[in-house]
Symmetry: C2
Subunit: 404 residues, 2 copies
């Protein structure tokens, strides 16, 4: 049910970043479910994590270890190790110790990540038993396998890869992500791993990632549910010949732009694979007083089950969009200043159905696989965009059958 | 797909309140779609309205006329007269004038209400043409017909009726409501009409209704969508022999209690008829610091599509409930103090799966048609309850096919 072009791209290896996958039989026995990532000794690593108060055990450990110069990531799919209490913490720590033993490094240099069912104990023995194979399989060229190993209910592997020239040096940016439910702004939403070969301090890398995530992964939503586990990691192996990137430079801005683009692509891929999605919806709210109210209106539309089912039905039921704007809680909203567009078709002007609107024109847009909803609030000059998908029978089916 | 016992009760007539219905062919031609309500000259009338900024034209008119001693209600189903701009206002006003002409009263004494499709013009000529028949049909015994005339996607008519003894006098409380989608706390959620025969000032009646609605209609949610139209009205015909109810008296408290009970029953009926609902879910959040955070947590659980689809599947996927609590945005939530129960089964204690929990025990509760979810936050002593329903294939079907 993926929306649009979701072909897996050619993935350029990133010098100094090796990936190894294998099947540990955590939930399924058919495909790889663990991913070992090993960074060059000179690498720096940044990460952002879920804001859910019930964050999973591996998130607690990874957040802690992020400050300790991590060189290894261990990701498993099939089990989230969330809601597992003290046992879950012990299991997450045990997985770090097992990686460290094999790599002859310290456990604090390992960031663990888990995704899958909440509330069941991580089968730590199976995971540890599979680690030597994952380590042995490590290669710089394993991005395609890596993208598959982190999938849960995803229907396609999500990748991005680009060579970018900065100041005469070619650098590489390659990344993977996974969704596909429990996707909601404010991180906590998915797993994303982006690698590059630039030389950059951990501090500057962290700033770069935060900016990129704020404009991408934090602006997508499938169902408004923020998960307990999810995280986005940006690794810089330091193997490029480009001199170290410094703050507030033209080079840094070029790098930031490239990371933003990678993040946006990987975030959009998650929405294209939203559980049961048949349509990609871009909601742009313009003429807001500030970003906060623009996002608030966009999210209210994006989370409305009535709006999402209308998109599924290709029904230009603009009244539901209008009702969502009206209940978004914007202070002193003057509905008479609002206009709403579906693509290039004006559906609402001055708070009511546009005089020029015809059902045929609305239907033409609704029949498209990718739809822009543009809301003009008539209050200011700030714009924000949120991506979402429609709500289908398959969303219910996937989530009603997930554990069975 | 209604949940539980939804038999329409025997409806006691309320002296001084007459109801007349007929078919105006607004959307359907098969059943009555307009309701004329006429109150005794001594009646008082209170109402609460949607908080959606895009409130419909009849809401604007009714809110204005509420202060002008209204004696008539005119309700139509099939068309919401919302998102209809200036034309919609003219149509709403024209309907009041038409009622006033027939009744030989002032248009300001009419409160108009509409429910149905948003954004299409109200067929005002059809509506006006049907008014004489609705007026002619008025009787005190027409509550059953009235309950049917206000239905939209409802699958059963919703009624409540009780005779209550206060200070030796028997008073009557009879009411009807309709849902069933776009149901979300903060009013704006449904139509409800409750009538009684007590003598009470408009001011005291309004206070009574506000308290009742806050504990009932504002604590239910089907899909989180707050509609543009909905309203709840409490009429007191003044025909009882009970002396006028005064504030802060034992009699007033008894009356308040009876109105609370009626409101709760009519609100719960809306959830039992939630679009596609197969289960009634009562979410109780206890040990909160204040009502606001308790409602916040309860609503976050109630609105989670992942939680709702798990209920539909009878899947004791308590991890999704836990994740919803974690993302509810409670400041400094200590997850280690949280316990969660499904009915009498403890599923989470100290923030993790309860040691005593078994899948069988969870499954036993999930198989029930009515399920209690109880969350102990371990922060204070305030409790709040929100009612919701599950999320099924039929929810998607109903809302994807609504206009076609």
């Amino acid at each position: 049910m993926a929306v649009g072009n979701v072909k897996f791209p050619v993935m350029h290896a990133v010098p100094g970043i090796q990936l190894g996958t294998t099947n540990a039989g955590i939930k399924q026995t058919e495909r790889d479910d663990i991913l070992w990532v090993e960074m060059h000794g000179q690498a720096t690593c940044a990460a952002v994590f879920t804001q859910n108060a019930f964050c999973a055990a591996p998130v607690v450990v990874a957040r802690e270890n992020l400050q300790k110069n991590p060189k290894y990531l261990l990701i498993n799919s099939g089990n989230a190790n969330a809601g597992t209490g003290e046992q879950g913490m012990q299991d997450a720590l045990a997985s770090c110790i097992a990686v460290a033993d094999l790599a002859q490094q310290k456990p604090e240099q390992v960031l663990p990540f888990s995704t899958g069912v909440i509330g069941e104990r991580l089968p730590i023995d199976k995971l540890i038993a599979a680690l030597p194979t994952a380590q042995k399989n490590k290669q710089e060229g394993n991005w395609h396998k890596a993208a598959h190993a982190i999938m849960t209910t995803d229907t396609f592997a999500k990748g991005y890869s680009k060579k970018v020239e900065i100041a005469g040096h070619s650098i590489t940016i390659t990344g993977i992500s996974k969704g596909a439910g429990m996707i909601q702004p404010n991180m906590a939403t998915m797993l994303g791993y982006i690698a590059t070969d630039v030389v950059i301090s951990q501090e500057n890398l962290q700033k770069c990632l935060s900016e990129a995530v704020d404009q991408s992964f934090n602006r997508i939503t499938v169902d408004g549910d923020t998960s307990t586990n999810d995280a986005c990691v940006l690794m810089a192996s330091g193997q490029s010949q480009l001199p170290e990137l410094q703050e507030n430079t033209k080079k840094m801005r070029a790098f930031q732009q490239a990371i933003n683009e990678a993040s946006m692509h990987l975030a959009e891929a998650i929405i294209r694979d939203g559980e049961g999605a048949t349509k990609l919806i871009k909601i742009q709210v313009k003429q807001a007083i500030n970003a906060s109210e623009a996002v608030q209106v966009a999210k209210t539309i994006a989370h409305s089950p009535l709006v999402k089912t209308a998109f599924f039905a290709s029904d230009p039921n603009w009244g539901r969009i209008l009702a969502a704007v009206g209940r978004a809680g914007v202070h002193q909203l003057d509905v008479n200043k609002i206009s709403i567009y579906l693509g290039d078709v004006c559906i609402v002007e001055r708070g009511a159905c546009a005089a020029s609107y015809t059902e045929e024109a609305g239907q033409r847009i609704m029949n498209q696989e990718e739809i822009d909803v543009i809301v003009h609030l008539g209050r200011g000059d700030v714009s924000q965009q949120v991506l979402t998908c429609d709500f289908s029978y398959d969303y219910v089916r996937i989530n009603a059958e997930y554990r069975t």
